[in-house]
């Protein structure tokens, strides 16, 4: 197996997960658990595909997917922030809703191909450079965008004042409220921004990676992104690492299967991402680590200023 191609494929596999995990990170840092992540990815995937199909532009399709994901998450935000509904049940309901809506919208597009080739298929001139050339330079723009956003979020979270406010939003919203900062508005903003990123992850799959629309095509990637955020203990740098680790496992599985070099049945190879997630969760949940890697204190708790 070609190691360079394996790493290149790992980065491609990691990208949708990275988008979704970064979106979830923003949301959870704001103190909200969005279990609708799988559904939001599917909404992004179908909207991205349909819009790219209709508008004939990959960029417009991706922007459209982000907007649709933002709108879908705004509805979720209305339920959990304004109406203060239970975040776990509401999130699961939104995952089902997203799965149903995307199947409904996408049924006319099953089996259709996009009018243009995705950037991933485009021939590249730098690809000839050995080593890093294949791994890094032969990627599409969305891959770079994903990693750039990870860097931006790191900077934003730890080096800027709004980032400090975001961290406080998930730890102690009442402090912000007492300083005259509106908790509700900020939570809306981060849920919507997070939803847009999650949807981009879905759209990456349907518009660039495959590029086709298949019902429930995210195949549990949203849940893996969710696990990665926990494993990364809500830190963007570790989210990148987690996504790459997953990408590597996924790329290995896929290539082993395709090249016929697999020593074991594909069903077992397909278990790898889930087993990896479990093992990573076990490693990261060790008591010593756990004490340092705390979840945002206000995660999952609706903000009610009367209980301040």
């Amino acid at each position: 197996m070609n190691i360079e191609l394996l790493f290149a494929a790992a980065i491609v596999s990691a990208t949708p997960i990275l988008f979704a995990a970064l979106g979830q990170l923003l949301t959870e840092r704001a103190g909200v658990l969005n279990l609708g992540i799988e559904g939001t990815m599917l909404v992004g995937a179908v909207c991205g595909f349909v819009m790219t199909f209709a508008l004939g532009s990959t960029a417009m399709g991706l922007v459209g997917a982000a907007i649709c994901g933002g709108l879908f998450s705004a509805a979720f935000a209305f339920c959990v922030v304004t109406l203060r509904l239970d975040q776990v049940v509401t999130g699961l309901a939104f995952s089902i809703l997203g799965s149903g809506l995307s199947a409904f919208v996408g049924q006319a597009y099953v089996g259709k191909a996009l009018p243009m080739r995705g950037p991933a298929d485009a021939p590249s001139t730098i690809a000839g450079i050995p080593g890093l050339g294949v791994i890094i330079f032969n990627q599409d723009a969305m891959v770079f965008l994903a990693f750039a956003i990870a860097g931006l979020i790191t900077f934003y979270l730890y080096k800027t004042r709004p980032g400090l406010i975001l961290r406080t939003l998930g730890e102690s919203p009442e402090t912000l409220d007492s300083l005259g900062i509106t908790v509700v508005g900020l939570r809306y903003a981060y849920i919507i921004a997070g939803g847009a990123l999650i949807a981009l992850g879905g759209a990456y799959l349907s518009v660039i990676n495959t590029p086709t629309w298949v019902e429930n095509m995210t195949a549990g990637r949203g849940w893996i992104a969710l696990a990665i955020v926990i494993f990364a203990s809500w830190r963007p740098g570790w989210v990148v690492f987690g996504a790459l680790l997953f990408g590597l496992v996924d790329a290995y599985r896929f290539r082993a299967q395709a090249s016929g070099q697999a020593f074991i049945d594909p069903h077992f190879l397909n278990m790898l991402p889930y087993l990896t997630t479990l093992i990573v969760l076990i490693v990261m949940s060790r008591p010593g680590l756990r004490a340092r890697l705390r979840a945002p204190a206000a995660l999952g708790i609706p903000y009610d200023r009367e209980k301040r």
């Binding site: 239970d86 776990v88 939104f94 149903g100 409904f104 849940w223 069903h267 969760l281 076990i282 008591p287």
Partner: protein, 355 residues
């Protein structure tokens, strides 16, 4: 103008809760109707077809009751785990692992084993295997502190792939052509219909509901579950071991889902296949919640839910996309959740800036 929620001081009466659930369901139906209209069909005829398909005839209703059994069993398991504030979203995997073990026993027993022995063996294997699959998540939680939501979820995917491997590989029925089925389990381990097309599963569901009711109101364990869920510190002070509670309750929760898998195998499919459950374990999460976690309401809600599912199939016949039924499920859940939660608040429209 902004929405403001103020807590209500008086307690909400049961009648009002029921009214709120009904209003929520109506709203969901109206929204779902809009989606159906968007797809170019008539909402009223669709709903009529949905209800007819679920409850409209004796055969339809019996089919609904049969489908309610696996949903209800899983939901009871999820509800009992929720007593200890544990979220088990792995019922689907536990169901399939139960069905897997039940099939293993059902294929291994000699063909002339009497029903009286074969049936309990198959069902018992399902119960044990379901408990085992849930116990994995419990052990991960107790030993390493792994969040059970994530571990049970990952175990679902692993179990489905395992079953997929078996029915396409070592257990593939040579007589089933290319269908991914195992061979049928022995006849004496299959429960035929009892009354019309109604099978014995309903009795098992009733027994399981009674079991949960007894656990709640008549056992020390049921009390310990709730204390360790609602007041973990008080539980520790009272000498209740959190580890023992987690382990025991997840085992029971998984056992009920495994039972569902074995019952479904024995009453309906007769062989292991991926179509054994169209997501009963996931639907059960919603049913457990909608039933308020209590035994009798869960049984009733699972019947309603099974009706929706059954009716969904008749929708497909009338060429309305089946995703409508999925959308309807989600809308129902959100609206009913909103209706019940908002019952605790008074909603006000306030002018101007927040106070």
């Amino acid at each position: 103008m902004r929405l403001r929620l103020e807590p209500r001081l008086e307690t909400v009466k049961p009648l009002e809760v029921m009214a709120r659930v009904a209003i929520g369901a109506m709203l969901a139906l109206v929204l779902g109707g809009l989606v159906i209209a968007l797809s170019g069909h008539d909402p009223l005829t669709s709903y009529a077809a949905l209800i007819r398909g679920g409850f409209g005839s004796r055969a339809a209703f019996e089919g609904t009751l049969n489908k309610a059994v696996p949903i209800g069993l899983c939901a009871l398991g999820i509800a009992i785990a929720a007593r200890a504030r544990l979220v088990n979203i792995g019922a689907e995997g536990q169901l399939f692992f139960g069905a897997f073990a039940a099939t293993a026993v059902g294929l291994a027993l000699p063909e002339n084993t009497p029903s009286l022995i074969a049936l309990p063996c198959v069902i018992g294997a399902g119960i044990l295997a379901g408990a085992f699959w849930a116990a994995l998540a419990a052990i991960l939680k107790v030993a390493f502190g792994v969040n059970e939501i994530l571990s049970t979820l990952m175990l679902n995917y692993i179990c489905l792939l395992w079953v997929g491997y078996l029915v396409r590989g070592p257990w593939a029925d040579p007589l089933a052509y290319s269908f991914p089925y195992s061979p049928p389990i022995l006849d004496n381990a299959q429960m035929g219909p009892l009354l019309g097309s109604l099978n014995g599963g309903l009795l098992i569901l009733a027994a399981a509901a009674l079991f949960v009711w007894i656990v709640d109101y008549g056992t020390r364990w049921g009390y310990e579950l709730r204390v360790s869920g609602d007041a973990p510190l008080a539980a520790r002070y009272g000498g209740i071991s959190a580890a023992a509670v987690t382990l025991s309750v997840l085992c029971v929760s998984g056992a009920l889902a495994g039972l569902a898998g074995a019952v479904e195998l024995s009453t309906s499919t007769g062989r292991l296949q991926l179509g054994l459950s169209p997501g009963y374990g996931f639907m059960a999460i919603l049913v457990a919640w909608l039933g308020g976690g209590r035994a009798l309401p869960i049984v009733l809600v699972s019947i309603l839910y099974a009706g929706l599912l059954n009716g969904g199939f008749s929708l497909q016949v009338s060429r309305i996309p089946s995703s409508i039924s999925t959308i309807l499920q989600a809308l129902l859940l959100i609206m009913v959740l909103a209706g019940v939660t908002l019952g605790r608040y008074r909603i006000r429209l306030v002018r101007g800036a927040p106070a």
